[in-house]
Symmetry: C2
Subunit: 416 residues, 2 copies
């Protein structure tokens, strides 16, 4: 076998197996109750609507166009529809500001490619979406900790980045019911983030993957809408908005979108032309078909189901978690974030769980760019039914309580 | 508006509009006879077969899986089918050696990302596929001229690359009916290329986009099959094979594949996981459905149509081209490559053509990594009917003849 490593690019050393995906393979045993995946519940897919969409495409005049190459910026009627939707949430724009990607994950990859030279710095929250770290890692950046609403001075960010040999290029965050914590950044935090971005002269990447999945509480305006309101129009914004159909319609078609000022969109279009020409034509047509006919109804269906599961999980956590365990109370999305008693390790807990309680979750450390967060874990309620949630939280509570006892015992032993 | 340029990564300066794509926009005027595009004829798409495929998916037990997230390496039944197909052309492999990409263009992007650090050198033919140059450019390489069958010593490649601050990483070529020339590298050339790759210890990227579209002549074994035959198995090869369904089934689904030894495949899977998770699940199922039921029949249909068009174009070239113009005689594919009389410029000729003869083609210079090739041009016969070909070649011949006269006149004037 050849020694490939020495001819791979330096960036390839940062391409590692995602802990979550590797875990998911292990957790396919039938006797495990899993809250590990953050995937949508397939029972909620609008499969009849998609069936109709593909059937109509093949029976209509668009069939040849659907199977042919198409433009890199994306299918115009879909971009028009999206521009209209964006307008409803305060993001006034036209199709010229909308760019179709093969899932919003591709959007993150392209934005890393567009902004990050090796040694540049990306600001991300501690913890953040693991897939964003994976996408950005390919471009060999450093990370610094973003704390929306916090008071760290711009100078400290600038100095840190310079010491590491580059400059700060963007702040990335999921501001609504984020993966992994389920938390939402409040209005004040969003405004302070935009001020920080102004002072650093960087882009803000708003990952809105879960934004339309709010179950209660008051909506907070998207960061991009605040940026438009203060700057006077989308062409003057520094925010780049990443949207996804994966949590509302279906992920298997790989269709997402980016909204930004036209200089950014033009670069992204050139990048896509070189990287994969365009996203699947037929799938863009199918998404436009389904979304334009019943997006709101589908979102309402998904929200009703997930909202009930979130309620059930919060109730079960209250019932079963031992003292010393804290968790978030998300107003939307798919995730709850647990903080274990200090000193406890989420990865060790999962190993124990697979052997004993057979309940699965994702240890939190992978979501931290600095490798901290050992005593955290992510649980998802999106694919769970109430019986699973009840039984699963009971087991998880028992597992944590037992680990606490063991930990104390070990500490006691160590102290002797 | 913000000054975005100063926060874009250095690589973004090499992302420029593709000359071909920009041209295609101009050439959509209805009175132009175009041989510019290299796209498949939509009249040949197996649309009934695809209609059946999507219909079966939505009526069967796979519907939820088709709309859900799936594994980064690709749909296993499709990879199995491809492994079988590869075996038929001397590329013995298993599904573990097959990786699904969103079109073979994405394969080229990923291979650039995997191998090229800034300042490394990629070997490409002069001319080469423009899309390969665009994909690789994002990784800021240098290029050196690959001449399969030529006698340049490995040392000169190594020295050139070192002078430019990197090393040679791979040789990229389309060996069968290449885009843009239509030419095929013979057995001797392929063997010498593998020897050169051995001496340089680099990868060979075999772009097989047109390989199954042979209309006559004897098939030459794929480079990868020669590599397997001499090295004793796919795990010992240095060749990476890129396949496409875009020229045989349909491009709009964005499904292609890569075949390589497992260390390469494993890295590519990690890269895809970080970059876009996976290619469209439903489209992979649809491609597998159509390909496994009638790939050979569809290929035969496409070949019969394109073969007749190639014959018509070669006959018309013979009839109408003025002396001093040369062209290739491809045994397959979609393209013929014209060399104009010395001193004539393909881009200037196109500008004249749009004003006078209204026949469109692609000036050849864009296909040269060094910007040479001004007196060349590419014409495609894939979407042309016989009347178009007859009329188009008549006009093109007249255009070249007139340009020759003008050129002589100008020269004469200059000599006075």
């Amino acid at each position: 076998m050849l020694d490939w490593e020495h001819i791979f690019a330096t960036r390839s050393s940062r391409m590692k197996a995602s802990e979550i995906r590797e875990l998911l393979k292990l957790l396919e045993q039938p006797d495990i109750i899993s809250f590990a995946g953050g995937i949508p519940d397939p029972a909620l897919f609008p499969d009849e609507e998609f069936k109709q969409a593909y059937s109509d495409i093949f029976s209509g005049p668009q069939v040849n166009a659907a199977l042919q190459y198409s433009v890199s910026e994306g299918y115009k009627p879909l971009r028009d529809w999206l521009a209209g939707e964006m307008g409803k949430i305060g993001i006034e724009c036209t199709a010229e500001n909308v760019f179709i990607v093969s899932g919003s994950q591709q959007g993150l990859d392209y934005l890393g490619k567009l902004f990050l030279s090796p040694k540049d710095t990306a600001l991300v929250t501690w913890p953040t979406y693991l897939g964003a770290l994976s996408a950005f890692n390919a471009y060999e950046p450093n990370y610094d900790q973003l704390n929306p609403g916090g008071n760290r001075t711009p100078a400290t960010y600038r100095d840190n980045a310079a010491k590491l040999g580059g400059s700060v290029k963007f702040a990335y965050l999921s501001a609504d019911f984020s993966n992994p914590t389920g938390e939402t950044v409040d209005l004040e935090g969003r405004k302070k983030l935009l001020e920080l971005a102004d002072e650093l002269d960087i882009a803000v990447i708003e990952d809105a993957a879960y934004q339309s999945l709010r179950y209660d509480g008051e909506p907070v305006p998207p960061i991009m809408s605040l940026d438009i309101a203060r700057s006077g129009g989308i062409e003057k914004t520094r925010t780049i908005y990443c949207g996804s159909f994966s949590k509302t319609l279906a992920p298997g078609l790989r269709v997402g979108w980016i909204v930004a000022s036209t200089p950014v969109i033009r670069k992204l279009v050139l990048m896509k032309q070189a990287a994969d020409l365009h996203s699947s034509t037929i799938n863009q047509l199918a998404i436009e078909h389904v979304a334009s006919r019943g997006f709101d109804k589908q979102v309402a269906k998904v929200k009703a189901a997930y909202s009930a599961r979130r309620d059930a999980m919060l109730a079960a956590l209250e019932k079963y978690m031992p003292e010393g365990t804290r968790w978030t109370k998300p107003e939307g999305g798919m995730f709850i974030w647990l903080t274990l008693p200090e000193g406890m390790d989420g990865a060790a807990l999962l190993a124990k769980s697979i052997a004993t309680e057979k309940v699965a979750f994702v240890p939190g450390r992978a979501f931290y760019a600095d490798g901290s967060g050992a005593n955290t874990l992510r649980i998802s309620f999106s694919c769970a039914n109430e019986a699973m949630i009840e039984e699963g939280m009971k087991r998880l509570g028992r597992l944590i309580a037992a680990a606490q006892v063991n930990e104390l015992t070990n500490e006691t032993i160590a102290a002797i």
